[in-house]
Symmetry: C2
Subunit: 309 residues, 2 copies
C-alpha cells in the first residue's frame, strides 16, 4: 500500500462564470466539487495506475464530511483521515468562460489542536507499518508545527519506508534537513529554499541540505532530476495546452509508483512527465487523460543534464 | 407566529482577501458563514425584534446541513425546512480589503423534483394554519414552477393570512396577479415589471396589476409606499455608509412586524427604513446595529408622496 498524507485536505470547488468582473454580482453557471488537497490528488492518480492507496491527514466539519463522502466513491483509495473539530477548507476556482482563465480563492484550513496533531501522529505511525512508500503533500493547516514534515520524515526513515516530500517555504526547508528520499519542488520553491535561480545548481544545493534526490518541476518544460544515480531532464514531446491544476500531483504519483515498482530513474521521469502532460490535457481539472498518457509516455525525451557550473 | 418562505436558501460565505485580482491565486484572510436566503435573513431580524418566526423552504446536502445547524443557534427561529436530495446553494461574497468592494458569486441552487415541490406545498399549507403573516422571499431554485409564488399567495389568501412578496422577474409578475397584500420591489424590479422608470407611477401600475399595497425600495433614499390608505415617502435622516447586504430583507422584517402589530403605515415605513439603515451601518453583513436602529427610528422623515402625473 502507498500512503499519502494531506494535512490540509480541501473540498475543491470549480465555478464556471461567463466573465469574472471584480465588484459585480455573478450567477454561477456550473458547480463541480471534488475531494482535494495535493495528497488526495496523488492518491487518485495512483489508484488509476492500479496501486492500492491509503489517504491520511485531517478532515472536519460539513466540508470534511463532503470530502469523505466523495472519497468513498473512488475505488482502491482507503480513507484513513483523522477527524478534527474545525472545518476542512474549501478552495474555489472561478473559471472565466470568456478568457478561459482561472481565479483561485483558497481558505486557510481548520485550526488543529495539539491533541488532534498527536492523534494524527499515532495514526500515521500505525499506517507506516503497511506502507511501501509515503508522500507528504501540501501546506500545513494552522496549529500544526512548522517542523511537522521533518518529524514525519524521520518516522518514515525509522520504519524504512521511502518518503517523498512536496511542500514549500519553511516546512520544505525543515523537511529537507530531515533527509527525505525525494523532494519535488518547482523552480520558485527551489529558488526560495536555496537562493539560486539556476535549477541544476539549486537542486544540487538541496541535496547538500539533506534531500537524497531532487526532482524539480520546470512547468511546461518537464522535470529536472538530481539523484545519486545521475542527473536528467525529462521533457514532453510538445508543449501541452490546457489546465495545469493537479499536474504537479500527477507527477508525484508517477515518481512514487515508479519508485515502488523499482523502475530506473529515466522511466520514472518519463512516466511522471507523461502523467503531468495528460493532466493538463484532460477536460476536467485534476483528472488525467489516459489515452493521452499512453500515447505520450513513450515519447518523453529523457536526456542527461549537464551542470552549468 | 410569522412564517417566512425561502425556496432557495443559501449558505452565505464571506471571504476577506487583500485585493481581488482576476486570474491570480488568493489566500483568504477570513471566512464567515451564515445561514442565508432572503426569508432566512428576514426571520433573523424578526426574531431580534421579539417575534416568533418559523422558516420554511428547502434545504439539502452538506450545505443544507450547515444552514440548519447554524439556524438552530438562532433563538426564536423555528426550522421547518423541507429536505431535498440536491444540495443547498452557496453564495460567496469576496470582500476586497483594499477597496472595501464586494464581488458576489451565487450558485443556482438544487434541482427540486415535482415530489419535493408537492411535499413543500403540504408543509406550507399546514404552517399557514398557525401564521399571523407570511413573507415569500427571493429567487426560485431550478425545478420549481415559475408560478410558484402565485399559488402560495392564493393559498395564504384562502387561509386569510396576510402575505408579502419580495422577488423579481416572472415570479414577481405572476405573483402580483395573485393579489398579494404587499409587494416590495426595488426600482429596477418595478421598472422591469411595469416598463415605467417613474417609481410612483410604476407602483400605481403594480397595484392595478393586483398588488394591494406596493412598497418600493429606493436604495439609500429610503422607501416609497403606494397603499389603499395613502402614499408616502420615508427617508433616513442622512445618507448611511456601509454594506447594503441584507438591507432590503431588514426592510421586509420592518414592514411585516408593523403589519402584525397593526401599526399605521407611516410607523411601519419608519421602522422599515430605520432597520434598513441600521443594517447598512452594522459591521457584520446582514446584521443590524440595534443602537443605530433605536437612534434612527424616531428620525425617519415620512412625507406624503405626490404623483408626478
Amino acid at each position: 500500500m502507498i500512503l499519502t498524507v494531506t494535512l490540509n485536505t480541501a473540498l475543491d470547488i470549480t465555478y464556471r462564470v461567463r466573465s469574472l468582473r471584480p465588484h459585480a454580482s455573478h450567477r454561477v453557471q456550473e458547480v463541480v466539487e471534488r475531494p482535494g488537497g495535493k495528497g488526495v490528488n496523488v492518491a487518485r492518480v495512483l489508484a488509476a495506475l492500479g496501486h492500492e492507496v491509503t489517504v491520511t491527514g485531517f478532515a472536519g466539519g460539513a466540508t470534511g464530511r463532503a470530502v469523505r463522502e466523495r472519497l468513498a466513491a473512488v475505488a482502491a483509495v482507503r480513507d484513513a483521515l483523522v477527524g478534527v473539530a474545525g472545518a476542512t477548507r474549501r478552495t474555489i476556482a472561478v473559471v472565466d468562460e470568456l478568457t478561459g482563465d482561472t481565479t483561485q480563492l483558497n481558505e486557510p484550513g481548520p485550526q488543529v489542536t495539539p491533541a488532534e496533531w498527536a492523534a494524527f501522529q499515532e495514526t500515521y505511525g500505525r499506517l507506516l507499518g503497511g506502507a511501501s512508500a509515503v508522500a507528504l503533500c501540501g501546506s500545513l493547516p494552522p496549529g500544526v508545527p512548522v517542523g511537522a514534515y521533518a518529524g514525519l520524515i524521520r518516522a518514515a526513515r525509522a520504519a524504512e519506508v521511502p518518503v517523498l516530500l512536496d511542500t514549500s517555504g519553511e516546512p520544505l526547508r525543515r523537511g529537507v534537513a530531515a533527509r527525505p528520499d525525494i523532494v519535488k519542488p518547482n523552480t520558485e520553491e527551489l529558488a526560495e529554499l536555496t537562493g539560486s535561480h539556476e535549477p541544476l545548481r539549486a537542486a544540487q544545493d538541496t541535496r547538500r541540505r539533506g534531500a537524497h534526490a531532487v526532482v524539480a518541476s520546470l512547468g511546461a518544460d518537464g522535470l529536472l532530476a538530481h539523484t545519486p544515480e545521475g542527473r536528467w531532464r525529462a521533457a514532453p514531446p510538445a508543449r501541452v495546452h490546457g489546465n495545469p491544476t493537479g499536474a504537479g500531483d500527477s507527477a508525484v504519483a508517477g515518481l512514487l509508483s515508479g519508485l515502488v515498482e523499482r523502475l530506473p530513474w529515466p522511466e520514472r521521469l518519463a512516466r511522471a512527465v507523461a502523467l503531468s502532460a495528460a493532466t493538463v490535457r484532460a477536460t476536467a481539472a485534476g483528472e488525467f487523460d489516459r489515452g493521452a498518457y499512453e500515447e505520450l509516455v513513450g515519447r518523453v525525451a529523457v536526456t542527461c543534464a549537464v551542470s552549468a557550473a
